[in-house]
């Protein structure tokens, strides 16, 4: 009898967790308009689809975007402060079978290799569901502006400094 109780409890636990594991399904795709070779400063958009695959409605759904740098030697989670203003979706209720589509815009602030993932949970679930990750490389921005800025930023003060020097020499010649 005791064994039977334990077996029943295990089956119930398994079924409930199986039910929970199956309740949210996340998909993540890179937007078709994203640049093929993203560079620093570019915008990228990621489209997620969150589906309630369970029998019960999902209440208090929270979904959020995470970014991790995986550049060799620089692996770290990224603070999305400058990357994205749209970091989470909150308070949504998802009926069984319903789908939540969300677009996640992101500005590429730094060069390197990155993985992005969408995570989700709800008020009743202790499990965090994640989407498949997407990996992308952000190229270093070629500093094209330096070709314009450097000559001006260095040249103009040099020109005025030169004028100052010419003045001094002229004055010296005048007075002998």
């Amino acid at each position: 009898m005791k064994h039977f109780k334990y077996l029943l409890a295990s089956l119930l636990l398994l079924s409930s967790s199986l039910a929970a594991a199956a309740s949210l399904q996340l998909q993540l795709q890179s937007d078709t308009a994203n640049p093929a070779h993203p560079t620093m400063g570019d915008w990228m958009h990621f489209n997620s689809v969150i589906t309630n695959t369970g029998q019960q409605p999902i209440e208090g759904l929270v979904a959020w975007i995470s970014l991790v740098e995986v550049t060799p030697g620089k692996e770290q989670p990224m603070d999305l402060e400058d990357w994205s203003a749209h970091k989470a979706v909150t308070g949504t209720t998802l009926q069984p079978g319903a789908v939540l589509q969300t677009q996640w815009p992101m500005r590429l602030i730094q060069s390197g290799d990155y993985r992005v993932v969408i995570s989700a949970t709800d008020r009743n679930n202790k499990t965090v569901f994640t989407s498949p990750t997407l990996q992308f490389h952000v190229a270093q921005k070629p500093v094209v502006e330096s070709a314009r800025i450097l000559p001006v930023a260095l040249g103009i003060p040099l020109l005025i400094g030169g004028l100052l020097g010419v003045q001094k020499v002229r004055r010296w010649h005048k007075t002998g």
């Binding site: 602030i109 730094q110 502006e145 800025i149 001006v152 930023a153 103009i156 003060p157 004028l163």
Partner: protein, 251 residues
């Protein structure tokens, strides 16, 4: 050559042929160069929109222009008095109006040179972005009355007080007060007092216009109120300077 032209020419020469004048211009271009170099060396700044950068550059040029105007204006009468060169001017056959306009022309020349020097900087940071042409135009249209107005204010104080220190300090305080709304946060600026200050402050008027035109691409018609503000500022300060310059302190 009339008196106005003689004085204006002397002021211009003092700026361009005098070591001190060239040193001021060097400092001014140094500030703009430092800002421009920051843009390519600092990652965060390098990612700013071109329009945002051009707006910031235009604001910096206007502020520097107002500062130079205050310095030149404070020296216009009081500096000459302290160096003993005011009495020869006052006893020459020059009207007080000609003397004032000659000094103002010198100030305008200085601003003109600063404006021209700013154009390559604006091009360097803003080419390829939006509204560069408008930025250059509005910097001239709004920056000029703001800068000259501060110059006239400083000249009025200079004539009335006969002290460079007093007129410079007082003008700088007014300039800082004008610039202060830009230093406080948007929350405070949106308060009742902040809005009133913004509405009557010529410096804010110019910068808000740059924001509206360069970043938001607003048309000129939407800025007529601010244009009126800066022109009223210029007219008022000119009147004050004219009144003060009739009997400048010379002893």
């Amino acid at each position: 050559m009339n008196a106005f032209t003689l004085i204006a020419k002397k002021e211009r020469r003092a700026l361009l042929q005098n070591q001190r004048g060239l040193a001021w211009l060097l400092a001014y271009t140094g500030i703009l160069s430092a800002f421009a170099l920051l843009l390519i060396s600092n990652r965060e700044l390098s990612l700013l929109d071109n329009a945002q950068v051009v707006y910031m550059m235009a604001g910096t040029v206007t502020a520097a222009g107002a500062l130079i105007a205050v310095i030149m204006g404070a020296d216009a009468y009081a500096g000459e008095r302290e160096r003993g060169t005011l009495v020869p001017l006052l006893t020459a056959p020059i009207s007080t109006g000609e003397l004032l306009m000659g000094k103002a022309a010198g100030l305008a020349s200085a601003w003109g040179i600063m404006y021209l020097l700013a154009i390559p900087y604006l091009w360097a940071v803003g080419a390829g972005g939006q509204n560069l042409g408008q930025a250059i135009f509005y910097l001239g249209l709004f920056g000029t009355p703001v800068v000259l107005g501060f110059g006239y204010l400083a000249m009025a104080l200079s004539a009335r007080s006969g002290s460079v220190m007093y007129s410079l300090m007082t003008s700088l305080i007014v300039l800082l007060f004008s610039a202060s709304p830009l230093l406080i946060g948007p929350g405070l600026r949106n308060s009742a007092i902040g809005k009133v200050l913004d509405a009557v402050n010529p410096f804010s008027g110019a910068l808000n216009t740059y924001d509206a035109v360069i970043i938001d691409s607003d048309p000129l018609m939407s800025q007529l109120g601010r244009l009126a503000l800066v022109l009223i500022w210029l007219g008022l300060m000119f009147a004050v300077a004219r009144l003060s310059a009739r009997r400048p302190v010379f002893r």
